[in-house]
Every structure is written in structure tokens, then in C-alpha cells.
Amino acid sequence: MFEQNLLLALVLMPLAGSLIATTLPVNARNAEAWLAGAVMVAGLAVLAVLWPQVQDGGVLRHTVRWVPSLGLNLTFRLDGYAWLFLCMVYGIGGLVVLYARYYMSPKDPVPRFYAFLLAFAGSMAGVLISGNLIMLVVFWELTSFFSFLLIGYWHHVPQARDGARMALVVTAFGGLCLLAAMLVIGHAVGSYDLDKVLQSGAALRSHRLYPVALVLLLIGAFTKSAQFPFHFWLPNAMAAPTPVSAYLHSATMVKMGVFLLIRFSPVLGGTPLWFWLVAGTGLATMVLGAVVALFRHDLKGLLAYSTISHLGLITALAGIGSPVAIVAAIFHVVNHAVFKASLFMAAGIIDHETGTRDMRRLSGLMRLMPFTSALAIIAAAAMAGVPLLNGFISKETFFAEAVEWHNGTWLDDSMPYIATFASVFSVAYSLRFIHTVFFGPAPTDLPKTPHEPAAWMRRPVELLVLLCLLLGVVPSATVGPILNAAAVGVLGAATPDYSLSAWHGFNTPLIMSLIAMGVGVVLYALLARRLPEGPEGPPLIHHIRGARIFDRVLLLTSWKWPRVVNRLFATEGLQMQLRILVVLAFLAAAWSLWGAARLVPRLSVASFDPVFGLLWLVGSACALFAAWTAKYHRFAAQVALGGAGLATCVTYAWLSAPDLATTQLLVEIVTTVLLLLGLRWLPRRREDIASDNLLSARIRRARDLVIATFCGVGLAALSYAVMTVAPGPSIATWFLQNAYSEGGGTNVVNVILVDFRAFDTFGEITVLAIVALTVFALLRRFRPAAESVDIPEQQRVQNAADDAAEDRETGQTVRDYLYVPSTIMQWMFAPIVTLAVYLFVRGHDLPGGGFSAGVTLAIAFLVQYLATNVRQVEERLTVLPVRWIGFGLLIALACGAGSFLFGYPFLTAHAQYVDLPLIGKVPAATAMIFDTGVFATVMGATILMLIAIAHQSLRSARARERDREEARETAGTEGRRV
């Protein structure tokens, strides 16, 4: 179990470190570096402890149960192959942290840098030890994401932003393809478990979806490992700080694509399709990268293209797929990581100390910074594949495989020549790097005078270069066992016998190396003069830039095409959109119900009730009347709407739903008040608007009438069909049986709301609260239309009558309007509050409950507002609706969370009956507390919305008074002036 937990720690330590890193102060450079360094060292220590488990081809597994009911588990899996990669993540990670401590300027905010770096390391570890395909993709996308953040670290620089975005778009797109690939593989194998997938190679290769899965997986791997034609993001990612380039974009992240290729080569490889796609792409990338690298003037640009070329080499090896090639590929991953990380760090030191990375300006640094120069020269020689350095052996193995391995295709036949050709350029660009930067005359126009960097900044480079030498001279003694464990991890029993040594005799690969070196030197000697004058890229083809094509594609797909589509298919008009939505909804319903034979209704009029029929004769007439008059006679439409609502209410009462009837009746009242309040702000409408009688308007109306008829008839038919079929078994029986025994209430509807499905109710009252607050917030900046600002016409008429009469003062008629009813309404306050309490208390057993009680209490307040005027009410009553909402939600939440105290899940209710003196047995379920929350929230939300709207009249009245006073004042001053 101890080892299993260590396995988790490999992922969790960096992620936790990342969180801690964000909390440190902005200028805590040392603390951040210590933290990150400690995490990296701890990671290495964990790996050292786990080494005995994996060294003989063992696999360490750990499953964290996540959602066992869905079969979702987090599986972690460590074998020798992942161990090797993790070593690079933590080892080079540690060196990069040390290097970054000296590289980052005191002005850079370091917490962000180290937090991203650690989070990246954690995600990377996640990819490497995922034992589940989907989990692997999730971590894979996380690395893309953190790579994006790290490239864009200096986000004030436009190149950094562009490079980051490009990298994200390309690699995240690849990640999506990878997800699709994993889904296809999971579907074909029947499991997402990596172990199972690795064992079902034969079945996968013969599956009919094999080509789909392969191509998608390759897109994922190629985008990540910057293979042609997706290579262009990597040079643009060089806008990242150099430690990031050294870590992510040479040593670790870009290796993930080849990690995946090598991991899956025994499963998916060995077919002609695999060979052509993988080896072909690898070789093309290798040549392209090597050629372009020679012509780049930017140090990091050269290194980036060199990285692309070397990744191409590894991909080509994976494409060959023979066991020896796989071993060579793994070995080259290590070698490349070691020399390229040191080269990037050296390039960073040069950039740091001289202020430029342009090889046309750099020269003769050997004299100024001899140590760094010597280190960089050795690393560059390793990159060129010079014997006794670590790049040599893996390159030789590649040559050997290119010569010896055959499958009879022309690509296979030409492989030795392609390999030598790329190697020629590889030698030439390494030579250019060494010659122009370190030799020649002393530099003249550098931004800074170069000198050796801080000793600790050079240490990581020294260590890596030492590794270059050790791996090159005594490979089997240093990396032998690790490489063997990794090879066994991938190949299992098929691991070949191979010899790791610097000298294999005078054979074909050596001759190829010698030719490459000779021709490379000659090529550089010929081009040396002309290179600095040339463009940034090889002649002729430097005009074809992947990045530029990418930009153009991005512009097309994210801007131009959407605009065209928008112009063709979109409408700005809400009316049109609604029409399309309604028609689509109708079609969707019709399509899904088409041919549903069991829904053919039997026409039966046996249960016809004439009174019920009469009720709905009136109700339907009301609905139609409302539809007819809503445009020109809003008030009449509203009255008719109320009629339809009442018919609905009676229907609920009739058909055994007393709770619904109560709620519907109460909500009907508040809705009416709400709409009446809204009427005040609407424009006058006259029937003689000419455009309403135009032919086009008539056609529109006719079309909408058809749509509406179809919808109405459809829903009527559907409901009739359902109602006449006997119901199947439902959960209703369970609720009815358990409401009293489990929920302690006899009103099953209420028990469902506040006990069985309380979580849903909690969500609903939250929605209610959100809507109320939105209404409130929207109205704070409400500006009425100009024509609605004045006093309503009716009041003006009445005031004018007051003014005309001798014995009446202005506003008297308005004040005394409906005097008797308003007095009665004021008296109604206490009875309605009592009714609310009554409805609430009996809710658990009889119709009522929090919802209806809340609306009732809101009505009690509302009636006061209606009976007198706002100012008068608010002098006497203080209603704080926002607090009602807040406390209501808090009560509901606390009631739910209270069950945690007793060890039950959220919102578990407890019920019993308590004997109170005088009153008798009363229900005392904790659900009642929850219902109190519902009650307070509903009451607060209702009153908040209505009062907020009502206050608008008050606001415009105040605005009118203010305007009048201002007018009077200005008139007064002007009068005095005159």
C-alpha cells in the first residue's frame, strides 16, 4: 500500500506545490525556487524508492475508487517505461528550477511562473502514469493548457500571446482527436483500461475502426510532438522564458507524442498503414526540421527546428517499429532531452548575458565566457552526433535500422539516404551554432557586455553536459538498466538483445556518419558566408510558413466563415428566432412521436361531465379572447387571462390536486398585480396603425396561426393519447406508501417537496431567489420611456377636475379613490397573515405548505401597498425582502447541512410528532425547518419583485418633483435677474 500511495504522490506533490506556490509573495524568488526544487527532488526520491518494483519489468498499479456505481475509477500504473520518463520530468525539472532562479528577472512575478511549472510537472506525471485512456487524455490536455500559460508568461509581449494561442489551438485540437481515438479504441477493446488495451493488439488491428483510431491517435501525437505539418507551433512557442523552452519544449512535453507512439507501437504498429504514416511523417519532419534549422538566425529558433528534426527521428524509429528501433527510440528520447535541455539553457545564458539571441550579431564568445562556451560546444557536438557523445549511439542505431530493416517499400529503400541527408544538415547547423557564436572576432554591437553567468546558473548545464559524456562513453554502465526496464515495459517478452556501446566496428552506419560529417562540414563551409545575409529560413520555401497558413485558416474558420454563415442563416429579429424555435420544437416532437402505435387514442365520451365542459368552454373562450385582444386591449386581455387561470385552478381542485389549486389561486393574484404594474410603462396603442393591415402582416399572422394551430392540436392529441392509456408502474406508489411512515406527513405532495425531493426544491428556491435579485438589479438602472414619465392620463384627468372644482384641492379624487374597499383591505392585513401561518403549519399534513404560505404572506403586504400608497405603507411597515430571501436560503441550507452532524447525507429529514399542551399532537419534522426556508425565500422573492416594480412609479414621481423644483428655481433666478 505504501508504494501505491507513493504513486499518487508523484502526481499530487507537484499539484499541491503549485497551489502553495501561488500563495507566496510576488518577489519570493528564493522561497519559490526552494519549494519547486524540493518537490522535484522529492519526486526523484519517490522514483528511487519505486525503482525495485519496476526494474525487472514489473508494473505497479493503484486504483482510486471514484464513482464505483458507474465503474469510474482512477487507475494509476507505473512501469519501467513511465519511470524513465518521470525521471526526466523530475530530474530536468529540478535543474530547470535551479536555472530559472537565476534566469528570471526580479521584475517577473515568480509565483505564477513556479505555480504553472509545478502544475505542468504534475499533469505530465499524470499522463505518464495514467492507467486509464480517458484519464490520460485529461492530463494530456492539462499539459497543453499549462504549456499555453507558460508560453504566454510574459503576456505583455504580443509574440508570447500569439505563440501561446497557436500552441494551445494546435495541441488542444490534437488532444481532442486523441480523445476521439481513445473512445474508438475503448469501444473496440471494450475497456478503457490501459493494461487491457495493451494486451488486445491483434484484435485492435483487425477491427474495422482501426484506421480511424490510428489516424486520430496519430494526429494527437503529431501535434504534441510538433511533427510535420503541425510543427509550426513549436518555433513560435519560443517566446516562452528559456527555462520553459528547455523543460517543456525540448525535454518533456514535446516528448509526450513520441511517448504515446512508442507505448502504442506494439498495439497499433506493424501494419503498412502505421509504417507509411508514422515513418513517413517522421522522416519528412526530420529532413524539414534539419534543413530549416540551418537557415534560422535566432538561436532558439535553430534549437526549436533541431528539436523538431530530432523528434522526427524518434517518430521514424517508432514507425519502423522493430524491437531494436523501439529501444533506439527510447534511448534517443533520453539523449535528446539531455543535450537539448543543456543547449537551451546555454542559449538562455547567452541571451541573458549578451542581450541578444541573433546569431548574426553574436560572435567570439569563447573568449568572453569560456566555460559556458565549452559546455555549449560539447552539447552541440552531441546534437550533431559526434562519436563518444550521447547523440551518437542512438543515431547509429537509427542508421543501422534504416539499413538493415526491410519491408520492401520504396520508402524503406530510400531510408538510408534520407537519414544521411538529414544528418548532413544536422551536422551543418550544429557547426553553424558552434562557429558563429563562439568563434570568430569579438562581438561589437551587443546590448550588454557579456561575461560568465552566476556559477549556479551554469551548474545545471554542467551536470547535463557531464551526462552527455557519460552516456556517450559508458552507456551500458550508466543508462543500461534503466533503458532495459523501459524497453521491457513497452515490448515485454519481445525485448531484443542489443548492445549499448560506443564502438561497433567499422560498419555501414559508421560510414554513413562519417559521410554525413564530411558533407556537413563542406556544406557549412560553402554556406557560411551567405547564411547571415539570407532570409530567416531556407531559400525558396521560406515563403511557405506554417504559422502564416495557420493564421489564415484561423481567420477563415473563426471569423470569415462564421460571418458568412451568420449572414445566411441568422436573424437579428427575436420574433423570427422564436418562430424557428417553435417550429423546430414541434418538428422534433412530431418526429419522435411519429409511428408511436401505442399512443393511438380511443375516442371515449363516457366520462364527459357537462359542468366540467362548461367550465372549459368559458376557460377556452377566455384564452382565445386574451390572444385576440392582447395587442390593443391589454387590460381586457389580462382579465381574460385571469379567467383562464381560474378555470385552471378549478380544474386542479376538481381533479384531486388541492395543493395545486391553492398555489395556482395565490399565484394568480400576484401575477395579476404584477402585470397591472407593468401596464403603466407600456406605450399607447391605437387600432388604426396602417402597417398592421398590410398584406405582408396578414400573411405573417396567417402563418403564425397555422403554426399555433398545429402546436395546439398536437399537444391536445398527445395529452388525450396519454390520458386514455392506463398508467404503467410508477414511483408514485412508493411515495404514497412511505410519505407517512418515513416522512411523517400525510400530505404526500408536500412531503415530496420538502423531504423526498428536497434537494430539487432547494434548487428551485435558489432559482427563485436569483430571479428576484435579477429583477431588483435590473430595475435599479431603469429608465422609463419618455412618454411614460408623466403622470398617467387618468390621474391627470382627475387632477384637472379637482382644479376646476372650487371646493376640491388637487389630488383629492386620486387620494379618495376606492375609499371603502381600501379601508377594508387595510383591515385584512392580520387575517391574511393568520391565513399564511395556518397554511404553513398544516402544510405537512393538509394542503398548504411553504410555497403557498410564502405567497400568501406576500399578498398580505401587497394588499397594504394597494390599499394606500407606497409612502404611507413604508412609514408603518418595514419589509426587508432581500433579508427574507437570504435567511430563507440559509435556513434551508443549514437544515440540509444539519444532517451531516448525524452522519447522514445532505437534507436527510427526521420526523416525529410532538404533544403540545392545548394544541395536541403536532408534526415536528425537520422538513418543517426546511419548509420555513422555502416559505421565507418565496415570500421575500415575491415581495421583492413586486415592490421593486411598484417603486418605479415613486421614482418617476420624485424625478418629476425634482424637475419641477429645478424649473421653479431657474425661473426664480431668471425673474430676479430681470
Binding site: D609, A623, A630, A657, L715, M723, A732, V771, V775
Partner: protein
């Protein structure tokens, strides 16, 4: 009974849809109210129609579930009624604000040319 109610649902819903497609925001509000009546009745009717069978249990002795109507659609509709009031209010306020900003009560924010 079933026939009457389904016709009523159809008329409520059809009137609602017709108003929903109208250009004036007040018409749309009334339409949404009518539609919510229709839809609520529709959902309610999924529990089948029964009279005198309100889902209230007796405190004394077992109640046979078969004698009571289905409480589940009722619980669904109860919250739907309250929520539909809230959305009506929200829409009304948006309508008021839109009318204040654009000077028209056309749902598109501008009069048809």
C-alpha cells in the same frame, strides 16, 4: 373528461404559441402565461385524471395507494407555478427596460420598416 381537458390544453397552448409569435412584448408575456397554464395542466394530466382522490393519507391505518392519485406530477407542477411567476416578472422587467432603452415595445427592439 379527458377529451375536455385535452381540448382545453390544446386551446391554451395554441393561443399561447400564437401570442408568443406576435411582435409586441406584452403579447408575448400573456402568451407565456397561457402556455404555462397549458403545459402545467399537461404535466399534471400525466398522472391521469381522478376526482376525489387527493394524495392526502389517513393518519389512522394504512391507505391503499391505488385509491389516491399520483402525487409526483403535482409536486412538479407546484414548483413550476411559482417559478413561472418569477420568470414572468423577469420578462416583464426586461420588457420595461427594453422599452425604456429602445423606445418601442417591439420584441426586436425596433419597429419593422
Amino acid at each position: 373528461m379527458e377529451l375536455t381537458l385535452s381540448l382545453a390544453i390544446g386551446i391554451l397552448f395554441g393561443s399561447g404559441v400564437w401570442l408568443l409569435l406576435r411582435p409586441r412584448s406584452y403579447q408575448v408575456i400573456i402568451g407565456l402565461c397561457l402556455m404555462s397554464y397549458g403545459v402545467n395542466l399537461f404535466i399534471f394530466s400525466m398522472g391521469r385524471l381522478r376526482t376525489g382522490a387527493a394524495p392526502i393519507l389517513s393518519k389512522y391505518g394504512e391507505t391503499d395507494p391505488a385509491t389516491l392519485t399520483d402525487p409526483v406530477p403535482q409536486a412538479l407542477v407546484l414548483t413550476a407555478i411559482v417559478i413561472s411567476f418569477a420568470t414572468t416578472a423577469l420578462f416583464l422587467v426586461v420588457m420595461m427596460a427594453s422599452r425604456g432603452l429602445t423606445g418601442t415595445d417591439h420584441v426586436d427592439g425596433k419597429e419593422r420598416e
